[in-house]
């Protein structure tokens, strides 16, 4: 004879059963949520990684630094616009951007001094023009001016190019402005001794743009972040002001000559 359970026991059993069912259901839902979270996370992360990979590829193709470029005839060491004889014992490399006001200050005080050393045959100065300050003008003046210098060097030689280089700094535009127009640069170049017909096309077409891009890459890879930067026989000159820079350059030149 089966023992009849009391009503209370029956109720208690039913409640336990329904609690167990609820616990199983909750556990099932928890697992469901977790797998859903994992799935959503994996899909979103996957899509984001794909986006990063695509953008990296696009950016790499937009950055042309290092692609082969025709250098202007008469260039020294790949990127230098030379002043002074190639066999001079001391090589002074000046990295500068035509939009950089500090470079303008340095040019103002250093041009005569450096020309004196170059004329004596002791020093070859190599001006490396870079274009990292394109964002400081509304027309990419850094690139346009550096290209124009390359064009003048290519067509009229180093002497005219150095005069043009000095004229560009004597007429340096304000930071944030549109810079000199192509016509203004051509007028300065002609005054320095360049042939207008030979330079107008390549200045307008940015013939040496890629050379300027590579010059900027070379400057960065040489360990520089700013302009003006100067090396004397490969040694970087430290400085706190434009005057300081010129003094230290002169000292380094004297030291190199004394060796």
């Amino acid at each position: 004879m089966t023992k009849k359970q009391s009503k209370a026991t029956q109720q208690a059993n039913m409640q336990r059963a329904s609690e167990r069912a609820a616990a199983i259901r909750a556990e099932y839902e928890r697992k469901e949520r977790r797998s859903r979270t994992l799935l959503v996370t994996a899909v979103v992360v996957g899509v984001l990684i794909l986006v990063v990979a695509i953008v990296v590829a696009v950016q790499a193709s937009r950055d042309t630094t290092g692609q082969t470029a025709a250098a202007p005839a008469g260039v020294a060491g790949g990127f230098g616009v030379p002043m002074g004889p190639a066999d001079a014992p001391v090589k002074v490399t000046v990295y500068e951007d035509f939009m950089c006001p500090y470079c303008g200050q340095f040019e103002k005080i250093s041009e005569d001094t450096l020309k004196k050393y170059a004329d004596s045959g002791d020093v070859q100065v190599r001006y490396h023009v870079v274009s990292f300050l394109d964002g400081s003008s509304t027309t990419d003046y850094s690139t346009r001016a550096a290209n124009a210098l390359g064009v003048v060097l290519d067509t009229a030689g180093p002497d005219v190019a150095i005069k043009f280089h000095n004229a560009l700094y004597a007429n340096q535009p304000q930071e944030g402005s549109a810079g000199l127009s192509d016509d203004q640069m051509i007028a300065l170049a002609v005054k320095a001794g360049a042939d207008k017909n030979a330079i107008s096309g390549p200045i307008a077409d940015l013939k040496f743009k890629q050379w300027v891009v590579n010059s900027t890459g070379n400057w960065s890879k040489s360990g520089f972040q700013g302009t003006p930067s100067v090396t004397v026989n490969g040694e970087t000159i430290k400085f706190k002001s434009a005057d300081d820079l010129l003094n230290n350059v002169e000292t380094a030149i004297q030291d190199a000559l004394a060796k």
Partner: protein, 164 residues
């Protein structure tokens, strides 16, 4: 607690907004971004370009996911890692006497006043690092895609409904 969730929401907007601005400003000029990474002189040259191309888009995506509230905890974790990397980068540049613009918002390169700016840049990055850490700890907040995608039982304390 309602207020905690709103702190998380504010942190998402703040940190996300900074990343979006930082990323967008750097995207237009990949060559400059590469040079800014190189200027820190930490990474080997072989990977400098890839890092330079990848950083701006990673910053932008971290910012966007934080703002819309998508995978907040993962985004906040990435944000922490980036800030730690930048804090280390700026500190070592300062310690080594490099005078570089941090390149945090584009630009980068030599900066004669860099030594005066480093403390402020570090303070800013530490502040944003703490906001990111907060989000790793408390990622859930109102107005987030995560609430729709990940949690069926939205935290009722956020909406003020009584919990069952």
């Amino acid at each position: 607690m309602v207020s905690m969730a709103w702190i998380s929401f504010a942190a998402r907007v703040l940190v996300g907004g900074v990343w979006i601005v930082a990323g967008l400003l750097k995207l237009p000029d990949p060559a400059a971004s590469v040079r800014a990474v190189r200027a820190y002189r930490i990474l080997p040259e072989a990977i400098v370009p890839t890092v330079g191309y990848a950083l701006p888009i990673i910053e932008l995506l971290v910012g966007l996911t934080l703002i819309v509230g998508l995978l907040v905890r993962i985004g906040a974790l990435l944000s922490c890692l980036l800030f730690v990397a930048f804090i280390v980068g700026i500190s070592q540049a300062w310690a080594r006497g490099l005078q570089i613009d941090c390149g945090c918002f584009g630009g980068g390169g030599f900066d004669a006043r860099a030594n005066e700016k480093y403390p402020w840049e570090l303070a800013r990055d530490f502040g944003l690092l703490f906001a990111s850490l907060w989000l790793v700890w408390r990622p859930r907040a109102p107005w987030a895609l995560d609430n729709l995608l990940l949690h069926h039982d939205r935290d009722r304390t956020l909406t003020g409904e009584p919990s069952r």
